[in-house]
């Protein structure tokens, strides 16, 4: 990712909102589906909205309502949902060199989802230090509110919405892979990183197709990292 500092045309939070708009294409359809499934599983509209507002993690929310509805022991539900989110442990440390000592960063960590991490990892290094918290607040709050609004929409009118406009579910979610692609492709500026990124992405596709969606991200990332070290060691040994 480029580390060239960019000047902002508007205020930082407006730029953050603008940069996060592509996320909505992925967030809203999934949030609508969650709202619909949660209500169908026996949760009320208010409970469904509160789940989205406070847990705010797609995969673990789906797992929470599915396991709770099936009558699984609650201690097991808690452990499984937290295990799914364990991949988030590397996000904060990766962003920390770009964040200042402002205490406002602490509550803002609630908004550090997969997508916000990917966006912030690419954009924060390009922004001046004083603009970063405003930019992150704009991007993270828009994503959070869109997740809550999409959930509410799904809980209240999800069935009718997806029947009347099937494109919401069929086409808009493509915004997510397109977003991840434009965030990661600038990294492919040499052979080492191109192969690392390619292996991570291909491994993730294979793992998901094989039916392991929850471990696909951390496992595929580890595969890519292993290749990175193998190629780097090979290069170092060749240079000796």
């Amino acid at each position: 990712m480029s580390t060239t500092t960019q000047t902002l045309a508007g205020t930082p939070w407006k730029q953050g909102v603008k940069d996060a708009i592509p996320l909505l294409g992925g967030y809203i359809p999934v949030a609508i589906s969650f709202g619909l499934i949660s209500v169908q599983s026996g949760f009320s509209v208010l409970e469904t909205i509160l789940i989205s507002a406070f847990i705010y993690a797609g995969a673990s929310q789906f797992l929470f309502v599915a396991m709770a509805a099936s009558g699984a022991p609650l201690w097991f539900v808690v452990i499984m949902t937290l295990l799914i989110n364990a991949r988030h442990v590397v996000y904060g440390p990766n962003l920390s060199p770009y964040l200042n000592q402002d205490k406002k960063w602490l509550p803002l960590m609630h908004g550090l989802t997969d997508q916000i991490f990917a966006l912030a990892h690419a954009r924060l290094p390009q922004l001046p230090d004083q603009a970063r918290i405003g930019w992150y607040t704009g991007a993270a709050v828009l994503a959070w509110l869109s997740w809550i609004a999409g959930t509410a929409l799904g809980a209240i009118a999800g069935g009718e919405l997806t029947q009347r406009w099937p494109l919401i579910n069929d086409v808009l979610p493509f915004a997510l892979p397109a977003l991840f692609f434009v965030l990661i492709v600038p990294r492919c500026n040499n052979r080492l990183w191109t192969l690392t990124i390619a292996l991570s992405a291909v491994s993730a596709v294979i793992l998901k197709v094989l039916g392991f969606p929850n471990v696909a991200i951390p496992l595929a990332a580890l595969c890519g990292a292993a290749l990175f070290y193998a190629l780097k060691n090979q290069r170092n040994m060749g240079g000796q």
Binding site: I21, P22, G25, F43, S44, L50, F54, I55, A57, S60, F64, L74, V77, V78, T81, L82, N85, H88, V89, Y91, G92, P93, N94, L99, M109, H110, L112, D114, F117, A118, D170, V171, P173, F174, A175, P177, A178, L179, F180, F181, V182, L183, I184, P186, R187, W193, T196, A201, V202, S203, A204, V205, V209, I217, P218, A220, A221, G224, A225, Y229
Partner: protein, 111 residues
């Protein structure tokens, strides 16, 4: 929801928040400590590699269509190619994504 379900919900919410918050605080303190000890405040190399590979893995998982048929894969391929084509010209975020979604939608709708 009964009380035990609320308790589970609150535990998951707090746990998820702490998973996001605590590693950040740990790294922030670690970097500050290294700086005060006159060392160069830098992250461990493995962490700097894991960041981009996690994003690449998210790209990979999001690429798999909901309906895994030939048409969906074709639409996905066309969408990514168009996204890449527009990105090479603009080096921006919004327009390549928009064009990619439109191309994906056209293949999905037309065929």
């Amino acid at each position: 929801m009964d009380m035990s379900m609320w308790l589970a919900l609150v535990s998951i919410a707090i746990g998820t928040y702490l998973i996001r918050l605590l590693p950040y605080i740990w790294m922030k303190r670690s970097l500050a400590k290294r700086q005060t000890e006159d060392c160069i405040g830098s992250m461990p190399t493995w962490l700097t590699i894991l960041g981009p590979t996690m994003i690449a893995a998210m790209f990979g998982t999001s690429l798999v269509p909901t309906h895994s048929d030939t048409l969906s894969w074709l639409a996905t391929g066309v969408g990514i190619l168009i996204t890449y084509g527009v990105w090479t010209r603009t080096r921006s975020m919004g327009l390549p994504i928009l064009c990619g979604v439109v191309a994906f939608g056209m293949v999905t709708l037309v065929f």
